[in-house]
Protein backbone atom coordinates (compact mmCIF):
# COMPACT_ATOMS: atom_id res chain seq x y z
CA UNK A 1 0.00 0.00 0.00
CA UNK A 2 1.48 3.28 -1.11
CA UNK A 3 0.31 5.96 1.30
CA UNK A 4 0.63 9.70 0.88
CA UNK A 5 -0.69 11.02 4.16
CA UNK A 6 0.80 10.11 7.51
CA UNK A 7 0.61 11.20 11.14
CA UNK A 8 2.88 14.13 11.96
CA UNK A 9 6.28 13.12 13.40
CA UNK A 10 5.29 14.80 16.66
CA UNK A 11 2.17 12.59 16.78
CA UNK A 12 4.18 9.39 16.25
CA UNK A 13 6.61 10.52 18.95
CA UNK A 14 3.74 11.15 21.39
CA UNK A 15 2.33 7.72 20.55
CA UNK A 16 5.67 6.02 21.26
CA UNK A 17 6.01 7.99 24.49
CA UNK A 18 2.55 6.89 25.65
CA UNK A 19 1.44 10.52 25.63
CA UNK A 20 -1.78 10.11 23.62
CA UNK A 21 -5.23 9.03 24.78
CA UNK A 22 -6.59 5.56 24.07
CA UNK A 23 -8.61 6.68 21.04
CA UNK A 24 -5.55 8.19 19.38
CA UNK A 25 -3.50 5.09 20.13
CA UNK A 26 -6.18 3.00 18.39
CA UNK A 27 -6.21 5.11 15.22
CA UNK A 28 -2.41 5.36 15.08
CA UNK A 29 -1.94 1.61 15.66
CA UNK A 30 -4.41 0.92 12.83
CA UNK A 31 -2.42 3.17 10.49
CA UNK A 32 0.86 1.55 11.58
CA UNK A 33 -0.40 -1.84 10.46
CA UNK A 34 -0.67 -0.45 6.94
CA UNK A 35 2.43 1.76 6.97
CA UNK A 36 5.97 0.38 7.34
CA UNK A 37 7.52 3.87 7.16
CA UNK A 38 5.61 5.04 10.21
CA UNK A 39 6.37 1.76 12.01
CA UNK A 40 10.05 2.53 11.49
CA UNK A 41 9.63 5.99 12.93
CA UNK A 42 7.82 4.65 16.00
CA UNK A 43 10.58 2.05 16.47
CA UNK A 44 13.12 4.86 16.52
CA UNK A 45 11.06 6.86 18.99
CA UNK A 46 10.82 3.77 21.21
CA UNK A 47 14.60 3.42 21.01
CA UNK A 48 14.78 7.01 22.22
CA UNK A 49 12.40 6.08 25.05
CA UNK A 50 14.56 3.10 26.00
CA UNK A 51 17.70 5.20 25.94
CA UNK A 52 16.10 7.94 28.02
CA UNK A 53 14.90 5.40 30.57
CA UNK A 54 18.41 3.92 30.74
CA UNK A 55 19.80 7.35 31.52
CA UNK A 56 17.47 7.95 34.46
CA UNK A 57 19.07 7.76 37.89
CA UNK A 58 18.48 4.34 39.44
CA UNK A 59 15.76 4.16 42.08
CA UNK A 60 16.36 1.82 45.00
CA UNK A 61 14.29 -1.34 44.77
CA UNK A 62 12.67 -2.70 47.91
CA UNK A 63 14.77 -5.35 49.69
CA UNK A 64 12.18 -8.01 49.03
CA UNK A 65 12.04 -7.16 45.31
CA UNK A 66 13.90 -10.06 43.75
CA UNK A 67 12.32 -12.64 46.08
CA UNK A 68 8.85 -11.30 45.25
CA UNK A 69 9.59 -11.52 41.55
CA UNK A 70 10.39 -15.24 41.85
CA UNK A 71 7.16 -15.72 43.78
CA UNK A 72 5.20 -14.05 41.00
CA UNK A 73 6.97 -16.09 38.35
CA UNK A 74 6.50 -19.38 40.25
CA UNK A 75 2.81 -18.60 40.57
CA UNK A 76 2.48 -18.75 36.78
CA UNK A 77 5.74 -19.99 35.27
CA UNK A 78 4.50 -20.71 31.75
CA UNK A 79 6.18 -18.34 29.33
CA UNK A 80 3.90 -16.37 27.05
CA UNK A 81 4.09 -16.99 23.35
CA UNK A 82 1.36 -14.57 22.62
CA UNK A 83 0.29 -13.32 19.29
CA UNK A 84 -2.62 -11.16 20.15
CA UNK A 85 -3.76 -10.73 16.58
CA UNK A 86 -7.38 -11.89 16.25
CA UNK A 87 -8.13 -14.82 13.93
CA UNK A 88 -10.71 -12.90 11.92
CA UNK A 89 -10.26 -9.24 10.96
CA UNK A 90 -12.89 -8.84 8.20
CA UNK A 91 -10.41 -6.85 6.13
CA UNK A 92 -9.95 -4.29 8.89
CA UNK A 93 -6.72 -3.42 10.67
CA UNK A 94 -6.40 -6.14 13.32
CA UNK A 95 -6.32 -3.70 16.21
CA UNK A 96 -9.69 -2.30 15.13
CA UNK A 97 -11.42 -5.61 14.36
CA UNK A 98 -12.61 -6.37 17.93
CA UNK A 99 -14.44 -3.03 17.97
CA UNK A 100 -16.28 -3.71 14.71
CA UNK A 101 -17.25 -7.40 14.87
CA UNK A 102 -18.37 -8.57 11.43
CA UNK A 103 -16.53 -5.75 9.67
CA UNK A 104 -17.78 -2.60 7.98
CA UNK A 105 -20.67 -4.32 6.21
CA UNK A 106 -22.15 -5.34 9.56
CA UNK A 107 -22.09 -1.92 11.21
CA UNK A 108 -25.39 -0.70 12.66
CA UNK A 109 -25.14 2.90 11.58
CA UNK A 110 -27.01 5.81 13.05
CA UNK A 111 -27.87 8.55 10.55
CA UNK A 112 -26.71 11.99 11.65
CA UNK A 113 -27.80 14.07 8.68
CA UNK A 114 -28.66 12.88 5.17
CA UNK A 115 -25.52 11.34 3.66
CA UNK A 116 -23.65 11.02 6.96
CA UNK A 117 -23.91 8.04 9.33
CA UNK A 118 -21.89 7.22 12.38
CA UNK A 119 -21.06 4.60 14.97
CA UNK A 120 -19.51 5.72 18.23
CA UNK A 121 -16.99 3.33 19.75
CA UNK A 122 -18.09 3.61 23.35
CA UNK A 123 -15.51 1.38 24.99
CA UNK A 124 -12.52 3.55 24.17
CA UNK A 125 -11.41 6.06 26.80
CA UNK A 126 -10.96 9.45 25.13
CA UNK A 127 -11.59 12.07 27.79
CA UNK A 128 -13.50 14.97 26.28
CA UNK A 129 -13.00 13.62 22.79
CA UNK A 130 -14.47 10.61 21.05
CA UNK A 131 -13.74 7.77 18.67
CA UNK A 132 -16.23 7.06 15.91
CA UNK A 133 -16.69 5.49 12.53
CA UNK A 134 -18.16 7.90 10.05
CA UNK A 135 -19.70 6.83 6.74
CA UNK A 136 -20.13 9.64 4.24
CA UNK A 137 -21.97 9.19 0.95
CA UNK A 138 -20.32 10.08 -2.37
CA UNK A 139 -20.54 13.81 -2.93
CA UNK A 140 -21.56 14.56 0.66
CA UNK A 141 -19.65 17.13 2.68
CA UNK A 142 -18.87 17.29 6.36
CA UNK A 143 -19.79 20.84 7.46
CA UNK A 144 -16.77 23.12 7.65
CA UNK A 145 -15.25 22.86 11.08
CA UNK A 146 -12.14 23.46 13.09
CA UNK A 147 -10.93 21.74 16.25
CA UNK A 148 -10.36 22.76 19.82
CA UNK A 149 -7.78 19.99 20.11
CA UNK A 150 -6.48 17.49 17.58
CA UNK A 151 -8.28 15.13 15.22
CA UNK A 152 -6.92 11.98 13.60
CA UNK A 153 -8.82 10.54 10.63
CA UNK A 154 -7.92 7.18 9.09
CA UNK A 155 -9.58 6.23 5.81
CA UNK A 156 -10.87 2.64 5.87
CA UNK A 157 -12.82 2.69 2.59
CA UNK A 158 -13.29 5.14 -0.28
CA UNK A 159 -11.59 8.53 -0.38
CA UNK A 160 -12.09 12.20 0.44
CA UNK A 161 -10.52 15.50 -0.38
CA UNK A 162 -10.13 18.62 1.71
CA UNK A 163 -8.15 21.87 1.65
CA UNK A 164 -4.96 19.95 2.54
CA UNK A 165 -5.00 17.00 0.19
CA UNK A 166 -6.51 13.77 -1.08
CA UNK A 167 -6.96 10.85 1.32
CA UNK A 168 -7.50 7.25 0.34
CA UNK A 169 -7.56 3.90 2.15
CA UNK A 170 -4.83 3.76 4.81
CA UNK A 171 -4.10 7.50 4.67
CA UNK A 172 -4.26 9.43 7.90
CA UNK A 173 -5.21 13.10 8.24
CA UNK A 174 -3.62 14.69 11.31
CA UNK A 175 -5.16 18.11 11.95
CA UNK A 176 -5.35 20.51 14.89
CA UNK A 177 -6.88 23.83 15.86
CA UNK A 178 -4.85 25.74 13.30
CA UNK A 179 -6.80 23.97 10.55
CA UNK A 180 -10.27 24.72 9.29
CA UNK A 181 -11.42 22.13 6.80
CA UNK A 182 -14.37 20.88 4.83
CA UNK A 183 -13.91 17.27 3.70
CA UNK A 184 -15.70 16.18 0.49
CA UNK A 185 -16.08 12.53 -0.49
CA UNK A 186 -14.87 11.87 -4.06
CA UNK A 187 -15.12 8.07 -4.27
CA UNK A 188 -17.92 6.09 -5.92
CA UNK A 189 -18.65 4.19 -2.75
CA UNK A 190 -19.26 5.76 0.68
CA UNK A 191 -16.09 6.91 2.42
CA UNK A 192 -15.73 5.24 5.82
CA UNK A 193 -13.27 6.74 8.28
CA UNK A 194 -12.11 6.04 11.81
CA UNK A 195 -11.92 9.38 13.59
CA UNK A 196 -10.54 10.20 17.02
CA UNK A 197 -10.60 13.59 18.72
CA UNK A 198 -9.33 14.74 22.10
CA UNK A 199 -11.72 17.72 22.28
CA UNK A 200 -15.05 18.55 20.71
CA UNK A 201 -15.18 19.87 17.16
CA UNK A 202 -16.01 23.52 16.54
CA UNK A 203 -18.25 24.14 13.56
CA UNK A 204 -17.60 27.35 11.75
CA UNK A 205 -21.10 28.51 10.89
CA UNK A 206 -23.79 29.39 13.41
CA UNK A 207 -26.25 26.98 11.81
CA UNK A 208 -23.85 24.06 12.15
CA UNK A 209 -23.10 25.06 15.73
CA UNK A 210 -26.81 24.72 16.40
CA UNK A 211 -26.77 21.25 14.87
CA UNK A 212 -23.85 20.11 17.00
CA UNK A 213 -25.82 19.02 20.08
CA UNK A 214 -28.16 17.06 17.82
CA UNK A 215 -25.51 15.12 15.96
CA UNK A 216 -23.31 14.72 19.00
CA UNK A 217 -20.00 15.38 17.27
Amino acid sequence: MNLNNHPDSSTLLAYAAGAVNEGFSLVIAAHLELCPECRDEVTEAEALGGGLMQHLPAAEMSDAGMAQIWERIEADPIPEKVHRRPAETWGLPAVLAPFVPGGLSGVRWRTLVPGIKQLRLENVESGQGSVRLLSISPGATVPQHTHLGSELTLVLQGSFRDEMGHYKQGDLADVDSSVQHQPVVDSDQPCICLIATDQRLKFTSALNRMLQPLVGI
Binding site: G50, I69, E80, S150, D198
Partner: protein, 195 residues
Protein backbone atom coordinates in the same frame (compact mmCIF):
# COMPACT_ATOMS: atom_id res chain seq x y z
CA UNK B 1 25.62 -17.45 34.06
CA UNK B 2 26.36 -15.70 30.83
CA UNK B 3 29.79 -14.23 31.22
CA UNK B 4 30.73 -10.86 29.83
CA UNK B 5 32.13 -11.75 26.46
CA UNK B 6 33.61 -9.85 23.64
CA UNK B 7 34.24 -6.60 25.47
CA UNK B 8 36.51 -5.52 22.69
CA UNK B 9 38.20 -2.18 22.78
CA UNK B 10 36.76 0.82 21.05
CA UNK B 11 33.18 0.23 22.13
CA UNK B 12 31.39 2.55 24.49
CA UNK B 13 30.05 1.39 27.84
CA UNK B 14 26.53 1.82 26.49
CA UNK B 15 27.20 -0.54 23.60
CA UNK B 16 28.81 -3.13 25.86
CA UNK B 17 25.86 -2.92 28.26
CA UNK B 18 23.43 -3.37 25.36
CA UNK B 19 25.38 -6.36 24.01
CA UNK B 20 25.42 -7.98 27.45
CA UNK B 21 21.71 -7.39 27.93
CA UNK B 22 21.04 -9.06 24.56
CA UNK B 23 22.96 -12.13 25.75
CA UNK B 24 20.98 -12.19 28.99
CA UNK B 25 17.70 -11.91 27.08
CA UNK B 26 18.74 -14.84 24.90
CA UNK B 27 19.65 -16.99 27.92
CA UNK B 28 16.29 -16.26 29.56
CA UNK B 29 14.40 -17.04 26.36
CA UNK B 30 16.27 -20.23 25.53
CA UNK B 31 16.88 -21.84 28.92
CA UNK B 32 15.02 -19.77 31.54
CA UNK B 33 18.45 -18.84 32.91
CA UNK B 34 17.83 -17.36 36.36
CA UNK B 35 21.25 -15.77 36.74
CA UNK B 36 20.83 -13.97 33.46
CA UNK B 37 17.41 -12.80 34.57
CA UNK B 38 18.83 -11.52 37.88
CA UNK B 39 21.33 -9.49 35.87
CA UNK B 40 18.52 -8.00 33.78
CA UNK B 41 16.66 -7.20 36.98
CA UNK B 42 19.64 -5.41 38.47
CA UNK B 43 20.25 -3.42 35.34
CA UNK B 44 16.67 -2.46 34.47
CA UNK B 45 14.32 -2.66 37.48
CA UNK B 46 15.77 0.46 39.23
CA UNK B 47 15.45 2.43 35.98
CA UNK B 48 11.88 1.26 35.37
CA UNK B 49 11.02 2.20 38.95
CA UNK B 50 12.38 5.72 38.43
CA UNK B 51 10.40 5.96 35.19
CA UNK B 52 7.20 5.01 37.04
CA UNK B 53 7.93 7.61 39.73
CA UNK B 54 8.36 10.27 37.05
CA UNK B 55 4.97 9.20 35.72
CA UNK B 56 3.43 10.03 39.09
CA UNK B 57 3.54 6.68 40.92
CA UNK B 58 4.36 6.68 44.63
CA UNK B 59 7.31 4.61 45.86
CA UNK B 60 5.37 1.42 46.62
CA UNK B 61 3.39 1.54 43.36
CA UNK B 62 6.53 2.27 41.32
CA UNK B 63 8.29 -0.66 43.00
CA UNK B 64 5.35 -2.93 42.21
CA UNK B 65 5.16 -1.79 38.58
CA UNK B 66 8.92 -2.22 38.11
CA UNK B 67 8.61 -5.77 39.41
CA UNK B 68 5.64 -6.46 37.16
CA UNK B 69 7.59 -5.11 34.17
CA UNK B 70 10.42 -7.55 34.88
CA UNK B 71 7.97 -10.42 35.37
CA UNK B 72 6.69 -9.67 31.86
CA UNK B 73 10.27 -9.58 30.58
CA UNK B 74 10.64 -13.15 31.88
CA UNK B 75 7.33 -14.31 30.44
CA UNK B 76 7.70 -12.66 27.04
CA UNK B 77 11.44 -13.21 26.60
CA UNK B 78 10.91 -15.55 23.64
CA UNK B 79 9.06 -12.77 21.81
CA UNK B 80 12.02 -10.42 22.08
CA UNK B 81 13.81 -9.95 18.76
CA UNK B 82 17.28 -8.46 19.06
CA UNK B 83 17.15 -7.64 15.36
CA UNK B 84 14.38 -5.14 15.94
CA UNK B 85 15.07 -3.40 19.22
CA UNK B 86 17.65 -2.99 21.95
CA UNK B 87 16.63 -4.63 25.25
CA UNK B 88 16.24 -1.16 26.79
CA UNK B 89 13.78 -0.16 24.03
CA UNK B 90 11.79 -3.36 24.37
CA UNK B 91 11.63 -3.09 28.16
CA UNK B 92 10.63 0.55 27.82
CA UNK B 93 7.60 -0.47 25.72
CA UNK B 94 6.54 -3.02 28.36
CA UNK B 95 6.88 -0.38 31.08
CA UNK B 96 5.00 2.20 29.00
CA UNK B 97 2.09 -0.18 28.35
CA UNK B 98 1.90 -1.21 31.99
CA UNK B 99 1.94 2.40 33.13
CA UNK B 100 -0.88 3.27 30.68
CA UNK B 101 -2.90 0.35 31.98
CA UNK B 102 -2.30 0.82 35.72
CA UNK B 103 -1.66 4.53 36.22
CA UNK B 104 -4.03 5.84 33.54
CA UNK B 105 -6.62 3.06 33.45
CA UNK B 106 -6.49 3.12 29.66
CA UNK B 107 -5.44 0.61 27.07
CA UNK B 108 -2.39 1.25 24.93
CA UNK B 109 -3.21 -0.02 21.47
CA UNK B 110 -0.20 -1.52 19.73
CA UNK B 111 0.11 -2.45 16.11
CA UNK B 112 -0.80 -6.10 15.54
CA UNK B 113 1.06 -7.41 12.56
CA UNK B 114 0.31 -10.50 10.53
CA UNK B 115 2.63 -13.44 11.04
CA UNK B 116 4.47 -12.97 7.75
CA UNK B 117 5.26 -9.34 8.54
CA UNK B 118 6.47 -10.25 12.02
CA UNK B 119 8.79 -12.88 10.64
CA UNK B 120 10.29 -10.86 7.84
CA UNK B 121 11.49 -8.34 10.44
CA UNK B 122 12.57 -6.02 7.67
CA UNK B 123 12.52 -2.30 8.03
CA UNK B 124 10.59 -0.43 5.37
CA UNK B 125 13.77 0.71 3.69
CA UNK B 126 15.63 -2.56 4.22
CA UNK B 127 18.15 -1.03 6.63
CA UNK B 128 19.64 -3.32 9.21
CA UNK B 129 17.97 -2.61 12.54
CA UNK B 130 20.51 -4.65 14.44
CA UNK B 131 23.19 -2.10 13.71
CA UNK B 132 20.96 0.83 14.43
CA UNK B 133 19.44 -0.13 17.74
CA UNK B 134 22.81 -0.15 19.43
CA UNK B 135 22.57 3.61 19.05
CA UNK B 136 19.59 3.93 21.40
CA UNK B 137 21.94 5.06 24.14
CA UNK B 138 23.61 7.56 21.87
CA UNK B 139 20.21 8.92 20.94
CA UNK B 140 19.41 9.56 24.59
CA UNK B 141 22.81 11.17 25.13
CA UNK B 142 22.09 13.47 22.22
CA UNK B 143 18.92 14.71 23.92
CA UNK B 144 21.06 16.57 26.44
CA UNK B 145 22.80 18.31 23.55
CA UNK B 146 19.54 19.57 22.03
CA UNK B 147 18.49 23.17 22.61
CA UNK B 148 16.90 23.35 26.08
CA UNK B 149 13.39 24.05 24.79
CA UNK B 150 13.50 20.97 22.53
CA UNK B 151 14.93 18.63 25.19
CA UNK B 152 12.24 19.86 27.57
CA UNK B 153 9.30 18.85 25.35
CA UNK B 154 10.90 15.45 24.64
CA UNK B 155 11.26 14.74 28.37
CA UNK B 156 7.73 15.94 29.12
CA UNK B 157 6.41 13.51 26.50
CA UNK B 158 8.37 10.47 27.63
CA UNK B 159 8.63 10.98 31.38
CA UNK B 160 5.37 12.70 32.22
CA UNK B 161 3.29 11.35 29.37
CA UNK B 162 1.93 14.81 28.59
CA UNK B 163 -0.02 15.24 25.36
CA UNK B 164 0.85 18.07 22.98
CA UNK B 165 -2.09 20.08 24.36
CA UNK B 166 -1.00 19.50 27.96
CA UNK B 167 2.57 20.56 27.18
CA UNK B 168 1.15 23.68 25.53
CA UNK B 169 -0.84 24.51 28.66
CA UNK B 170 2.12 23.85 30.95
CA UNK B 171 4.52 26.02 28.96
CA UNK B 172 1.89 28.49 27.80
CA UNK B 173 2.68 27.77 24.15
CA UNK B 174 0.42 27.36 21.13
CA UNK B 175 -0.16 23.72 20.08
CA UNK B 176 1.65 24.35 16.79
CA UNK B 177 4.81 25.47 18.59
CA UNK B 178 4.85 22.36 20.79
CA UNK B 179 4.48 20.15 17.73
CA UNK B 180 7.18 21.92 15.75
CA UNK B 181 9.63 21.70 18.68
CA UNK B 182 9.02 17.96 18.97
CA UNK B 183 9.30 17.54 15.22
CA UNK B 184 12.60 19.43 15.11
CA UNK B 185 14.03 17.58 18.10
CA UNK B 186 13.05 14.12 16.83
CA UNK B 187 14.28 14.99 13.34
CA UNK B 188 17.69 16.00 14.68
CA UNK B 189 18.03 12.81 16.72
CA UNK B 190 17.03 10.63 13.77
CA UNK B 191 19.51 12.40 11.51
CA UNK B 192 22.27 12.09 14.11
CA UNK B 193 21.91 8.33 14.51
CA UNK B 194 21.42 7.87 10.78
CA UNK B 195 24.87 9.30 10.04
Amino acid sequence: MVAAQNCSTGRTRGEDAAALAIQWMGAVAESQDRDAFSSLYEQFAPKVKRYMMRQGADDATADDLAQETLVQVWRKASLYDSGKAAPSSWIFTIARNLRTDRLRRQKYHEVELAEELLESGLAADGRDRAVEHVHANQMAELVSKLPTDQAEVIRMSFFEGLSHAEIGQRLDLPLGTVKSRLRLAFGRLRTAIGD
